[in-house]
């Protein structure tokens, strides 16, 4: 009896191990790329802390690819998106990128949404000579490391210094602010680096940053820090962060009686901000972004997105869509799935019409595109400035 039980246990364990071994072997091979398709790896934050940004970016990308496929593909070839989950974590992003490149044999990688995750896959892609398009990783070091351009990395958004500069000038010149407080998301590279640039530029222009504070992703309650920031009595508050927290920050700031302008960056660009904060609270706030939804040239994208997903796009979706457009254009010009040729074509992107405007690639693999500053006014967004690329 005892022996039988033992035997069963051993058998069960061996079976389990073999089963897993089978899975291992099964997944080891990967499919060979069929000749009539172009495989694109979509490495995004499907789960984890920033899953909502990863998913939104993916939706935009998917829309661009679907449109291209509906129009007959590229030179008769359809584009297939192969999804992988980076779990909002750098090491998992590297893992997923390795899978897409080595198992799925993709020609191009798109994503992930956040800087840290993109940085983790740069070397893997570079070693395999597969280009990456990072739709919304805004840190300069994504494309330029120690003064050297990363040959296989491109992006479809503008970089932090650009935006920080724009908002510092706006605060100083348009809002006539002499003093400011900065409130950043210390779990985000994007937010921290924007906060730093803003401070440098604002102080260089003669302003003064009185207080710098930080919060963490997924925080719910900001009142304690906001109360502290209020004691500084500054003319403006700069919150370079993503919409989920921004909505709550604006709402709570107004609740505790902060009436001064609150300004931010493209992370604010989501209809949810108004839902969370409420349109009254959102008055007297300004942010920079890539386009105004009033702009006629952006309308086709917004309509198409609305039709496909039954919701308005946010900035992540727009940048994902732009990344898709860049990709399609590059594959078209490269005339095939060869990664080297696609890389070259991406670098030569010029005057391409994307969802949010016209875009050209500069020598550092950063797009040259317009920026706009929008004001939230009674639930509407009004364009207050348009900054064309220099």
């Amino acid at each position: 009896m005892l022996f039988g039980k033992r035997g069963r246990r051993v058998a069960g364990m061996l079976l389990g191990t073999m089963l897993l071994g089978g899975v291992l072997a099964g997944c080891g091979g990967g499919d060979k790329a069929k000749s009539d398709e172009i495989k694109v790896g979509a490495n995004f934050e499907m789960t984890g802390n920033v899953a909502n940004y990863g998913n939104a970016t993916f939706e935009g990308l998917q829309l661009a690819i679907d449109e291209a496929n509906a129009a007959g593909g590229i030179n008769g070839k359809k584009i297939t998106l192969v999804k992988a989950d980076s779990k909002s974590e750098a090491s998992e992003a590297a893992n997923a990128a390795t899978k897409l490149i080595s198992d799925d044999k993709v020609s191009v990688l798109v994503g992930p949404a956040t800087t840290g995750s993109v940085l983790a896959e740069v070397r893997i892609a570079t070693d395999a000579k597969v280009p990456i398009i990072a739709p919304c990783a805004t840190s300069p070091k994504v494309t330029v490391e120690n003064g050297k351009v990363q040959p296989y990395v491109f992006r479809s958004c503008f970089i932090d210094p650009q935006q920080g500069d724009v908002m510092a000038a706006f605060a100083k010149d348009n809002l006539k602010a002499k003093t400011a407080v900065v409130y950043v998301d210390s779990s985000s590279d994007y937010s921290k680096s924007l906060g730093q640039v803003f401070k440098e530029k604002f102080e260089a222009a003669g302003g003064k940053v009185l207080m710098e504070e930080a919060f963490l992703q997924k925080d719910q309650d900001f009142k304690a820090t906001l109360t502290k920031l209020m004691t500084a009595n500054a003319d403006v508050m700069f919150v370079p962060a993503y919409y989920e927290e921004v909505g709550k920050i604006v709402k709570q700031a107004r609740e505790i009686g902060f009436t001064k302008p609150i300004i931010g960056t493209d992370g604010w660009d989501d209809p949810k901000v108004a839902d969370i904060a409420g349109k009254d609270a959102l008055n007297n706030t300004y942010f920079s972004t890539h386009y105004s939804d009033k702009d006629e040239s952006v309308k086709p994208f917004i309509d198409a997105f609305q039709k496909k997903y039954n919701k308005a796009p946010n900035v992540f979706a727009a940048l994902g869509y732009d990344a898709g457009k860049m990709l399609i254009d590059a594959i078209k010009r490269a005339g095939g799935v060869d990664s080297e040729k696609i890389t070259k074509a991406l670098a030569e992107t010029k005057d391409l019409k994307v969802g949010t405007g016209i875009l050209s690639m500069d020598a550092n693999h950063n797009p040259i595109k317009q920026a706009v500053i929008l004001e939230n006014k009674d639930g509407d967004r009004v364009m207050v400035a348009k900054i064309m690329p220099k």
């Binding site: 909502n52 939104a56 304690a224 109360t227 502290k228 004691t231 989920e244 505790i256 904060a277």
Partner: protein, 295 residues
């Protein structure tokens, strides 16, 4: 704002934050009290409660209070189902296995809801006016008061249930010694099930109130509050109902003061550091009795 009034404002902020922790901690502590399980899925039950409330308001067009009740009932039942399916079969297994199961349930609820309701945050419709009340120069939000009041009422109610009702006595008996309780004719499984139901309903109440107050819910919203509530429960002495309340408030106040006077980046670190310090001097929490093993 001078130092004194800044301090008072931060205390108000802390108490309001702390009552949210306390509300979740109450359920945590009840479940722990009865089967000594750190139910890591509790924070996710709270998240489910928020979503049930959300759909009750937006899809079924209910008012806030009916939605709160519906959410508490539905989530309470969910808690009982989870207990029945995932924990009950492991009643005699090592405690750590049940803990791992709880982590599994937590993952399942998080990623399941990520799949079904998408990771995009949802916003609660306005169900209250969010006017800040200004009392003697300090701003208090109506909802803050509401959350605090509801937490207080629930704590008193729970203490009453546990101390004076039949089911409460059964709970204490099961908590003290499950087997002896069963010999005395108590249906321990039913008592445990009810405890999970009540605990989960409390979490749901917390979820809906927080959803209304902060106005945004998402599938991962339960992780941090769940952890903080656990810290609060341990701080007060896990298994003790007033301890959970006190622990929650203390934790909230610590966080507000650290954010307000030191730096918000060290807020969580400070909260944990204080927990550890308290444990070093009072190894069973503030309200816990030190029981030495009999040799």
């Amino acid at each position: 704002m001078d130092f004194g009034s800044h301090l008072i404002q931060q205390l108000i902020n802390g108490i309001s934050l702390g009552s949210v922790y306390a509300l979740i901690a109450l359920g945590y502590t009840m479940v722990y009290g009865i089967i000594k399980l750190i139910n890591f899925a509790h924070g996710d039950i709270y998240m489910v409660g928020a979503y049930v409330g959300f759909f009750a308001i937006t899809v079924a067009h209910m008012g806030i209070f009916p939605a709160l009740i519906v959410s508490m009932v539905v989530t309470g039942l969910l808690g009982m189902v989870v207990e029945r399916l995932a924990y009950k079969p492991l009643r005699h297994a090592p405690r750590i296995s049940v803990l791992i199961t709880a982590i599994g349930v937590s993952f399942f609820l998080e990623y399941g809801s990520m799949y079904f309701v998408s990771p995009t945050p949802r916003t609660f419709p306005r169900v209250f006016e969010t006017e800040g009340l200004t009392i003697a120069g300090f701003t208090v939000n109506g909802q803050q008061l509401l959350i605090f009041a509801i937490t207080l009422v629930l704590m008193v109610l729970l203490t009453y249930i546990v101390q004076y009702t039949k089911i409460g006595k059964a709970m204490r008996a099961v908590s003290f010694d499950t087997e002896t309780a069963q010999l005395m004719g108590i249906d321990a499984n039913r008592v445990i099930s009810v405890t999970f139901g009540i605990g989960s309903a409390l979490a749901a109440a917390g979820g809906v109130l927080v959803g209304v107050y902060y106005n945004s819910i998402d599938p991962l919203m339960g992780i941090m509050p769940g952890l903080k509530a656990f810290v609060a429960a341990v701080l007060g002495g896990i298994g003790i109902i007033p301890g959970a309340m006190a622990g929650g408030l203390i934790l909230g106040i610590i966080e507000a003061l650290v954010s307000g006077f030191i730096s918000s980046t060290f807020r969580d670190a400070a909260a944990f550091a204080i927990l550890i310090l308290v444990l070093l001097f009072k190894p069973s929490g503030l309200f816990g009795k030190n029981t030495q093993e009999k040799v």
